[in-house]
């Protein structure tokens, strides 16, 4: 079974040469640490920066330089700042190649819910609705089940949606799963996890074909 860092490491393998990537808050933010350093990649943050670097050294934080998670950051050579309008031109206009974000629920049709629990929690969608409505390639980083042990990979989302039919791939603590026309398709198992564990933890239709390899991190 993977921890958060394991999930980030596995997703990092999905980042290809020449990609502009938008990383959501939480696990997705960790992905930047594990991308191969022999490929050219730039990270975009929707609050207005392209070419994000690592967190600043202590004492070098700049209040005017943060990412969309409100964390202090740095920039790399070739970086640029811009306003929110141009930032969402990048996102909506499909100039960003890959979006990695968290989710509370994903359906077997690729619907995603991650911004609201009616009557309980309302954080807002932030830029997620624009991202999922636009990105060609959307990967969800999430735990396979919630705290109560209930599956978060469902036939149908129960929570208000963030976007419909948009999720392409899910990397959870248990598995790598592709969203296909016919439902969730199991691609890889996390180290030490059995196919049966994944079947048990997945409420939505899960397609298991042939031998399922253990993922390589």
């Amino acid at each position: 079974m993977l921890d958060k860092i394991g999930i980030a490491k596995r997703i990092a393998k999905e980042v290809k040469d020449g990609y502009y990537v938008n990383l959501g808050i939480g696990i997705p933010t960790l992905v930047a640490n594990y991308v191969r350093d022999d490929i050219q990649v730039e990270f975009q943050s929707e609050n207005g920066v392209l070419g994000m670097g690592p967190f600043p050294y202590e004492g070098e934080e700049d209040a005017d330089l943060i990412n969309a998670g409100k964390q202090t950051i740095t920039t790399l050579p070739g970086a640029s700042f811009f306003d929110s309008s141009l930032s969402f031109s990048m996102i909506r206009g499909k100039h960003v190649h890959l979006t990695i974000l968290g989710a509370m629920e994903v359906s077997e049709k690729g619907d995603i819910a991650n911004w609201k629990i009616p009557g309980k929690m309302v954080k807002g969608m932030g830029g997620a609705m624009d991202l999922v409505a636009s990105a060609e390639n959307i990967i969800v980083a999430m735990m396979h089940t919630n705290k109560e042990g209930e599956s978060k990979l469902l036939k149908q989302c129960s929570l208000p949606l963030t976007g419909v039919g948009c999720v392409k791939k899910i990397v959870s603590n248990l598995a790598v799963i592709e969203v296909t026309d016919k439902g969730f398709k199991l691609l890889e198992r996390a180290p030490g996890v059995q196919v049966e564990d994944i079947i048990k933890a997945t409420e939505g239709t899960l397609i298991v074909e042939g031998d399922i390899p253990e993922m390589i991190l």
Binding site: Y57, A63, S84, F88, R92, W115, M125, M129, P160, L161
Partner: protein, 233 residues
Amino acid sequence: MINKKVNNVKEAMQGVESGMTLMLGGFGLCGIPENAIKALVEMNVNGLTCISNNAGVDDFGLGMLLQKRQIKKMISSYVGENDEFERQMLNGELDVELVPQGTLVERCRAAQSGFPAFFTPAGYGTEVAEGKETREFNGKMYVLEKAFEADFSFVKAWKGDEAGNLIFKGTARNFNPAMCGSAKITVAEVEELLPAGSLDPNQIHIPGIFIQRIFQGNNYEKRIEQRTVRKRD
């Protein structure tokens, strides 16, 4: 040159009244109009509708107005950092319209630019699209969204000149440019106010035509919400 300089925040706030709709720049606590927000607290205007990406934190930014119940309605994209906000919203004390971030900024820009409405893919198939016109273009579905209408817009820039020209710094730019000229009156506060002619005309982010009043702000706190650092090796 048309001079937009006013002497202080008090002059800049002339005409702001209870019940008005205000736009406020910033993303989280980054690039927020600190002086204008403090003035709103002191003026004690209430029943406000505030258009701003976030709602501050409990004791800073728009959170200060929430604490004093000055806000009737918030139009934002993300409000996860503010407990008092969530409490007021879940209790029905505060009216909230959550808008996808890209739609939020474009509704500001539409107001700035004289576009009444535009089609965007964000929110299609979600509750955000409920009651709105949807339409297919080239096989994809889009939602019709409308320009905001606001009375005052408060923005914060790094440098400005007396002609109202603005330059922003880093990610403190965010929503500020799209909120310039998108309300009846736009008030800009700047860290450094210079004479006209001091800024390179090629490097101005927002020309003064979008600004009605500009003033030299002071005592900027620039609070950091998530101080994240790495250790030196």
